[in-house]
Symmetry: C2
Subunit: 226 residues, 2 copies
């Protein structure tokens, strides 16, 4: 197994008001089950081809490992797991995959959608989020921030159970932190990463939610943990 | 489109200490996209064949609708969305699917796993859960409630980010409420519904997590909302 370490391109930045500076580390493998050629990254990769990999078929997210030696038990919530987002195409295009600390042995493990199953994973980057307590966004009934709206500051496995009146969202504004929005209830289906650090947190139409987005369907939303 | 209402078999029970009595309603459809023959249920169904359906291919969970008229906006968190669990086989066997209020137009929408894709949905029942605040469970390193352990009383999209030391759990005890455990981080992969009202909340080996369970892999856990 070849092993290379790449700690280049844009470095992770420290964002004021977000507590301790996050530590990012991910290892990507060319074959399923953590086999084949692999590369370690501590910052973004806009095209795995340029790094000598044909594709990525398994992933190990190790962010936060510095404060959590694997041979010692740490009580829950003591560590910070800084998250990544993966993309189907190079240059952060196509289907999005939220990647939190843990092991993803195959495409199945990080995709949430069967309907668009092509097993490509070509670029990825860290996500800068706020603490859980200060994460905040507003969802609107219609595009361009119009119609009925409500503020979200929690995790919502079913927006409708929490009072939202239909299985769609027209537009969104992320005031603080980062969220994952999902097509279906229970955090399933297409994933859309929404960040206050991108587009000024403004997502005024479903076409802005990602190049893979084809409908305004959103039925569950959760915060991304710092 | 034929429409029947079935409100029979075991009635939903009121569990003391769980706040208001939950209201359960689900509509299941024989074809994708809410098409074909459909049936409404307010209590469990142990075999859709016995109700005249070949299979279930789309689902609308409407629990909580009584307190939430669809033509009137209710601020988030005012309504209670009581949840269901669906099963691949009759008599509550096989792959499990957590079903919270919302629309599931196809198998894709309620399954979390591609690796075991057979598109069967043959039985389902309501889940009785505690309030979010009082939900509580303990996870153990090894089977039979041995080894290192920790108490969970929150949602954990990555157990490892929160300090758990490996991508597996040996055994579990649900003290109060109900939880969904997932094979992969970010609430993906196989789903296992764990309830204090079943098996006295004791799940001493991964073989007890469900008839579909084939490994001790668990990387994310969340509470089921009342």
């Amino acid at each position: 197994m070849d092993r290379f370490t790449r700690t280049h391109m844009t470095s992770p930045m420290y964002f004021p008001g977000m507590g301790t500076a996050p530590f990012f580390k991910v290892t990507v493998f060319e074959r399923e089950g953590f086999q084949g050629r692999c590369l370690e990254f501590t910052s973004e990769c806009c095209n795995v081809h340029d790094c000598g990999l044909d594709n990525v078929r398994s992933i190990r997210v190790e962010s936060g490992a510095v404060t959590h030696p694997s041979d010692q038990f740490t009580p829950l919530s003591f560590t910070h797991g800084s998250s990544w987002v993966g993309f189907q195409h190079h240059d952060f295009q196509g289907q999005q995959f939220i990647l939190e600390r843990g092991e993803y042995p195959n495409w199945d493990a990080y995709s949430g959608s069967l309907s668009y199953h092509n097993e490509r994973f070509m670029s990825f980057r860290p996500i800068y989020c706020a603490s859980h307590e200060s994460s905040r966004m507003v969802i609107f009934e219609r595009e361009n921030f119009t119609g009925r709206c409500t503020e979200l500051c929690d995790d919502y496995p079913s927006l409708q159970a929490m009072g939202w009146f239909r299985p769609e969202v027209g537009s969104m504004h992320v005031q603080c932190g980062a969220f994952v929005c999902y097509e279906y209830p229970g955090y399933r289906g297409q994933q859309y990463i929404m960040e206050c650090e991108r587009h000024s947190g403004d997502y005024q139409h479903w076409r802005n939610w990602g190049s893979h987005c084809q409908t305004p369907k959103i039925q569950s939303i959760r915060r991304i943990r710092h």
